[in-house]
Amino acid sequence: MNDVAVRLSGISKKFGEFWANRDISLDIQAGSIHAIVGENGAGKSTLTRIIYGISVPTSGTISIRGKNIRFSAPRQAIDEGIGMVHQHFMLIPELSVTENIILGAEHCSLFAPLKKKEASLKIKSIAENHELAFDPDVLVSELSVGEEQRVEILKLLYRNADILILDEPTAVLTPSETEQLFKTLKSLQQEEKTIILITHKLDEVLSVSDTVSVMRRGKIVATKTTTSVTKSDLANLMVGRNVLLKVDNPPETPGKSILQVSHVSLTDPKKRSRLNDLSFEVNEGEIYGIAGVEGNGQRELLSLLWGMAEPLHITNGTVTVEGASILGRNPAEIASSGVSHIPEDRLKHAVISNFSISENIIFGRHREHKFLKFAGFDTTAVNNYAKSMIDLYDVRCDLQNNPSLASLSGGNQQKIVLAREIDRPGLKLLILAQPTRGVDIGAIEMIHKKIIETRDNGVAILLISAELEEIISLSSRIGCLYKGTIRHEFTMEEVRKGRTSEQDFEKEIGMFIT
């Protein structure tokens, strides 16, 4: 039991300027179920891709069962007995279960007949050993999602994999399918197989794993035996406390209500509930913080507020800004009523990285008259505006040459987005999603200051962040989001008091978000 199946030493992976994994050292014991938890973007997937040989690490070494290995292709990992079940299944729907399982491991020369009968018998026997019963001759297209996943697991067992990586295996499963999966995992463990489980669902970690590692911002922040941790310990480790500098936060004077979300329920196309009777209000001159572990409805709430709820289905409730409903309106209409939104995925949603700095600084606000001249832009006005914003937000860049935004650091890019959105004329409501993700500490301080300043100018601010400390140090009131609903709301007095003993306050919040 005490052999090390996988040992990672000093693994780092860099994409451009961004460290997806940084100096990761980890031992995974043979025959254990080892869970790796962390928020989206924490680097879990990159790490598993490195173990499976899809990505090559920038530095560091991997050893499998004490043997140093340098994979450059998944094929080599498979030969070493490592198998992976991806989040999105790699199955061909038009082929039968047997055909899918033996694909790539047919064990016969090019034109020799395929030994399907034999394979199918072997699959049946493996399946029965692990309570994975089903007919190997049906087409994959006829299977349910849970059954497809079982096929993926069988595929690995058929190849004699003894280290199994499962990436978010329960994301697509119903509760009973999840239970079934865990039974299977336990029975695999009996056979001395090593299982690496990637997830962000803490209940599952606690019920099935032996050891748990928490990842945050590309690093492993803790590795513990599961029996020694509680759910709120894990939640605290996951959402993190990384902000080193405290922002000066003078008392706020909230005014009238701006954003009202009342009794909103939302289902996804598969009719699963995403938001459940969600209600809250954001007032003028206050910051309403939403704390919660990722995947509890944050994304759905954001798309709802920005007119991009399709293909989600609103079953109930209303959302109003200054009394006017925003449901059914598109982003341009919502923005023009004085709402700004800083999306969490900056590069994908907030900027065009191939556009120049000045083109980005008016992106989404390019219909404002002051920037226009005839059918085009008033270049002087745009450039002057860019110059003034860059000075005001201390963006470090070479505006003379107006380079593409991609050449700036994450912090400077975010400052440009912030400048653009906060300076929107007639701004009433500012929606912030992970405003300091992927941003260096210096820029974080500046961004926090600007957020407080905007609040004091009477703007209503909705802050959604995975950083608990960010939520606590900025928010006027805090709503704890859990399974699509606000489970508990901390009043202004409670938050102010909480700020004085932050550790305890974090624990208290942790209780409500797990």
Partner: protein, 338 residues
């Protein structure tokens, strides 16, 4: 490598490689490549008539090139230039025949060109609508529309409009004809080069202004580069898909001003003869830049006509291969240099 350097180096390198390969091909036919190239030059740019021929061909190619380049900015691949040219050409001829004889020239030419653009534009728009409404890939729908337009136009020509025992319509009215450069300036004698070249140059300049200087172009480029971010900024990708396809189609339609109003003065079966497809190559070589596209069209015009002039020595198919190799080289180089 720097993005800007790539944009200059790639096309030049591609052309160089293609010429090198064609030299080898010429040698396999037992001819001296230098002699062939020299002959080609002297019979094209070296002669008055040859230059006119190249100008004429370049004009069509600029427009069919733009038909591909503009949708390209919204990440659409318009393969339908051929059908859009045909629709435009037939409409130009039809309107040109129907107009009363006493229509003043400027008005007649404007009406004919505009209706040709509208016709090409509707075909493009239809493909855009199919994409927006049903999610049908524009590659497939434009190819299918090529067949449909070809069949419709063919039917209309043979059953309703052809002059008996010919495959062309009657001539359009005198005043709808665009004068040749020869008649006005006395240059490029006997060649079909006509003043519609100015339309093409204006179209290329206006496209450049639209794409790089207007808000519409700004939004289009945003949609092409990062559709999701454009959505967050309140830009409707669908509207721009339709717009780009409509403008692209209109450009192809306008090519008929050169073919019908400037040259043939009637619609004839097989009039487009593949210029819609060469337009794809023209746009790719120019990396879809509306101004560079003029140079790219000139090169293809030269290769096309140059191939004809030396056909007696080497098969002109060699120069069709040069065109194709150039494009393949561009695709290979942009992938490898990045």
């Amino acid at each position: 490598m720097q993005n800007r350097t790539i944009k200059v180096v790639v096309p030049l390198l591609a052309i160089a490689v293609a010429l090198l390969i064609s030299a080898l091909l010429i040698m396999t036919t037992g001819r001296d490549p230098l002699m062939i190239y020299q002959k080609m030059l002297s019979m094209t740019f070296g002669s008055d008539y040859g230059t006119g021929q190249i100008v004429f061909r370049t004009t069509s190619l600029i427009l069919t090139g733009l038909a591909v380049a503009i949708p390209f900015k919204v990440r659409l691949f318009n393969i339908g230039g051929e059908g859009q040219v045909l629709a435009g050409a037939f409409t130009a001829a039809f309107v040109g025949i129907m107009l009363p004889h006493q229509t003043p020239p400027l008005i007649a030419i404007s009406i004919c060109s505009t209706s040709a653009m509208l016709a090409g534009s509707s075909v493009g728009l239809l493909a855009g609508w199919l994409k927006v409404r049903f999610g049908i890939s524009e590659v497939i729908s434009t190819i299918m529309l090529n067949f449909i337009v070809q069949a419709c136009v063919g039917y209309l020509l043979t059953w309703h409009f052809a002059v008996p025992s010919t495959v062309h319509t009657p001539e359009i009215i005198q005043s709808a004809q665009i004068p040749t450069f020869e008649s006005a300036l006395g240059v490029w004698r006997k060649s079909p080069a006509n003043f519609s070249t100015l339309f093409a140059l204006a179209a290329s300049l206006l496209s450049w202004i639209m794409i790089f200087k207007t808000t519409t172009g700004y939004e289009m480029r945003a949609v092409g580069l990062q559709p999701e971010a454009a959505g967050y900024a309140g830009i409707s990708a669908n509207a721009h898909i339709m717009k780009a396809m409509a403008i692209g189609g209109a450009m192809a339609g306008l090519a008929s001003a050169n073919l019908v109003l400037g040259y043939k003065h009637f619609y004839e079966a097989g009039l487009a003869s593949g210029i819609g497809f060469i337009g794809i190559a023209v746009a790719l070589l120019a990396l879809a830049h509306p101004l560079w596209l003029v140079a790219s069209a000139l090169l293809f015009g030269f290769l096309e006509y140059g191939g004809l002039t030396v056909n007696a020595y080497v098969p002109k198919d060699i120069f069709m291969m040069v065109q194709a190799i150039t494009i393949l080289m561009i695709l290979i180089l942009t992938k490898t240099l990045r």
